[in-house]
């Protein structure tokens, strides 16, 4: 019962304490000699351009959301594909049909977005 979970709680406490001590000790004991280049925002080694609070077009957000469709597709198709041989031996054509229907419905959603102009950039 609950007593079984005590090791997990202990691990969490130890991990949090260890991480906290490491970070804190570097803050407390580390040398601090800031100069202009050190406190600059990091942009892959280049000199930073503009502020960090840029406004980003909502289109990127839309694309990111649409990407979820294919993420979900992969999550479901991958285990099914790995097991397909044994599924096919057991169920024959019925191993294939449900995934086929699932993909049709999923791609219909994508088709809907495409035809409604969800991916038009302007």
């Amino acid at each position: 019962m609950i007593i079984d979970y005590i090791p997990i709680i202990l691990v969490i406490i130890v991990a949090a304490a260890f991480a906290g001590i490491v970070v804190l000790s570097s803050v407390i004991f580390g040398p601090k000699r800031p100069n202009k280049i050190k406190v600059m925002p990091y942009e892959s080694g280049k000199d930073p351009i503009g502020t960090t609070h840029e406004r980003i077009s909502i289109k990127y957000y839309l694309v990111a959301i649409l990407f979820i469709i294919f993420d979900i597709e992969v999550i479901y198709v991958y285990p099914w594909a790995v097991q397909f041989k044994s599924l096919f031996n057991d169920f024959g054509i019925f191993a294939f049909l449900p995934m086929f229907i699932f993909l049709i419905v999923l791609e219909l959603g994508f088709l809907y977005i495409l035809m409604k102009g969800g991916l038009k950039w302007d």
Binding site: F91, P98, I104, V105, L108, L111, Y112, M115
Partner: protein
Amino acid sequence: MPANNYEYFLLLPHIVLSVGIVLSILIEIFTRKGKEVLPWFSSLLFLFVGFYSIINIDKNFFIFGGMVEVGGRASIFNFIFNIAALLTVLASTDYIKKYGINYSEYYILIQSSVLGMMVMAMAHDILVIFMGLELMSICFYILAGLNRKRSSNNEASLKYFLLGSFATGFIVYGIALVYGTTGSTSIQNIFENFMQYFNNILFIVGMLLLLIGFSFKIAAVPFHMWVPDVYQGSATSVTGLMSTAGKAAAFSVLLILLGTSLSYSSPIVFRNYFSVIAVLSTLVGSIIAIAQTNLKRMLAYSSIAHAGYMAIGLAAGNNYSFAGITFYLAAYVFMNIGAFTIISLIEGKDETRLTLNSYAGLNKKSPFLAAMMSLFMFALAGIPPMAGFFGKYYVFFGAIKSDLTWLAIVGVLSSLISVYFYLRVVVYVYFMNENEQFEIEKSVGSNLAISLTGLLVLLFGIFPDSLMNLIVNFIK
């Protein structure tokens, strides 16, 4: 698949509706005539699915390894959902043009939400229930905010989404705890060994979380905070569907849970919970509704009170009260959709005529609407020749059978309070001088929906046995 082909054939209503949704999307994206075609297409779909289900009510089986029940109780609920959606579609063809949400997605979302409700009503497995619940709720979140240019719509949608997902969180956590303690998601398995699990604190917490989540969905006090704002902010036709079919779907799940527990042990363990919910909902709903002058808000509080009356039946926990709740839900669906349709005709383009004042002297403008409005108000108040009376009668009868007479008395008292604000509408309609001049819109679909609901409310009120015999045979 292990399931044989006959099992798929039994799921025909659900398959037809799913294919209908796919076809609707195809119609919309390829022909671009969705706005003209889809009202008729979805009406036919709902008509077919509803009547096919009710005709095949005798084929009552558990299929897919007991996960799903077809026929019987599920058929009755399928009928209720589909007729509610059909009436909503009829009533909203003209309304959504006025409101500015004339998208074909409106119909597709209604179809999807009805599919979710049907999945909820047939499920005997917690995960299937959850799937249906999410399908229904997500469609409702979108429907509530379909007109994104109206701030009231945005507010309603956001509030509904945040609080609804909060409730869903409760339900998921409850499912996790119940599955963790029992090792099964099948409601049958869980209740078979109910007394054995009952000493386990985690199981009790899980069950309570499930009940709290569904109390959110049926809009019972103290989980009712979202109801008035959401019902007032959404489009009136959407509110009509949310407050009736959505509530019926949540109740169908509670009926499955308690009904299964009835056949193995006694649902008496839930009695205290539902008694508290029932007393609070009936009293708070009825008393706060008195202070409302906005009709949509008043009906929202009345819907809280109605959830309370039905919770009395849940607290009673016997076959009489479960059959009574099902009858009550059927009656409530028709009278509420009728009332909301009348509101949608009166409210005008920018919802400027929602208050009681706009109903003053309605009798002079349109005797038909005035008569129907008073019919629905009498039915909601529970005055005998209408269906609402028998709904309350059966539920209170069930409560008395379980020695919960005090609960039935509280119910009767609070329905006495509610008569005040229902009849106030009738007084405004017939006995006040009109103080606003406006034309009432002509809408064939809405008038048809109002006439149909009025007819059904009277029919179920005068011949309650016609529906009640059907329900009693199949609520087990």
